[in-house]
Amino acid sequence: MEPLERYRPIIDDFDAFLAACERPLGNAVRVNTIKASVERTLAALAEEGIAYEQADWNPRVLDLETDSPGSTWTSFHGFTHGQEEVSAVPPVVLAPEPGERVWDCCAAPGGKATQIAALMDDRGTVVANDNNLGRISALRFNAERLGATSLAVTNADARNYSLSRFDFDEFDRTLVDAPCSCEGTIRKNPDALDNWSEGHISSVAGIQKGIIRRAIQATREGGTVVYSTCTFAPEENEAVVQHALETESCRVVDFDLGLEHSPGLTEWDGEAFDSSLANAARIYPHQNDTGGFFVAKLEVTAE
């Protein structure tokens, strides 16, 4: 927990935050509406005798009382998919519509890409990209189990992603769920901070800046880009969005979120960020008993 001390000045009730980070997470699953309604999934769980709690902000997110959420009938049928509660936030903020073209540029292992497909009623195109071929096999497995027919899977570096393989040249919406230092996953992976260093944060931030810029370039004017990470480090969050504001045509926009959260920072470590970054959301583990997350919503503007 030592590395997290640097966030003491920016997190309200820091002791509650630390205490939450020490507690393991429950078994969250997302209802996959490509295959079954929420109502039917709940009936199937009840039939199996599995107790559940529905998230207040999203009826499709459930916390299951079972030691093996992967060995349920709902999982076998692809009605449910193991996905952390906060991890279901970015696709909801992205708010894709059926028939649109959406790019999930760091998509493996596919929880958010299949959630995007479900939000689009599995109509349209979700380009699920990842640069790691090994992780793509997990993505493909999940996509097929969940019955997503609107996914196109590619294996490329998002930073210089080419659309030449498709017969369209821009996306309506893009999700950048960036590779990050994963501080916010500490409740799921107790060793998440083992290799923590400022040097690592700085190098991963360089990659994140490359990805967010390409995402904005590949999205149509008026389109939406959502940037998210599962980490607290402002260098990987507000500073990356600030870099996008300075180098690409976009603005940070406000969004509704039914989870308790804190506003994005407008300054960190002597560096000031654009005031619009207060529209971003920082979700801390003690606020909703979840993992940690950062989400910012951008609109692509005219050059």
Partner: protein, 214 residues
């Protein structure tokens, strides 16, 4: 090389296993030897399983690899060199074309024929990949195995624990469990089974098999 030429002197294309090619609509449009046509695929699903052809009106079918057919919810330029487009649905270029487990789970609820209903314990064994002796008076070959799941959500929350009583009453209602289930849209496909010699062989791939407790 003359034996590779058509009557009109053009060299026939061969299947490139590294890319996706959209299936030709009909035989008349086929340029790659042995490639299934869209018509054949849709007809197979209709003839064997009774899945209405219009179910697939908004989908395209693609081949990548030798005989592996993919279904995609839209259209794209062909050929396409990417990792996946939609999901795998059918294995062709073999005597009996075999639907995939995941396709059957996704589209099998539209089937009206060659659907074998399993009781919960039979379904559990099917999901673990076990073969089992079962009676079936329909065609042999690939069947869609299905069972009831998530029945009657109405009033459900106040009826927890009564599922056994419910299914017991179903079996004495005079209607078959399938009729009951179809009415409530509760019959859910588990996957593909191969029925031969009084035995249903589970075709659920290893990675999709699960040990289910109930």
């Amino acid at each position: 090389m003359s034996d590779e030429r058509d009557g009109d002197g053009t060299v026939p294309e061969t299947n490139d296993g590294q890319r996706f090619d959209r299936l030709p609509t009909t035989e008349a449009e086929r340029t790659v030897e042995g490639r299934a046509t869209r018509e054949e695929v849709v007809t197979l699903f209709a003839d064997r399983f009774g899945i209405p052809p219009e179910t697939f009106d908004d989908y395209t079918f693609w081949e990548k690899g030798a005989g592996k057919i993919w279904i995609y919810a839209g259209d794209a330029s062909t050929p396409l060199e990417i990792e996946a487009i939609g999901m795998t649905c059918l294995r062709t270029r073999q005597e009996h074309w075999k639907p995939t487990t995941d396709f059957v789970q996704r589209f099998g609820q539209h089937a009206t024929e060659c659907v074998i209903e399993l009781e919960r314990e039979q379904a559990r064994r099917f999901a673990t990949g076990e073969d089992q002796e079962l009676e079936w008076d329909g065609d042999w070959g690939y069947l869609i195995a299905a069972h009831e799941v998530g029945v009657g959500s109405e009033g459900r929350s106040s009826r927890d624990g009564e599922s056994e009583a419910r299914s017991a009453s179903n079996s004495s209602s005079g209607r078959s469990p399938r009729e009951e289930a179809v009415e409530r849209e509760a019959l859910e496909p588990l996957g593909v089974g191969l029925y031969v010699h009084g035995e249903l062989r589970s075709m659920v791939p290893k990675g999709r098999q699960r040990d289910l407790e109930s």
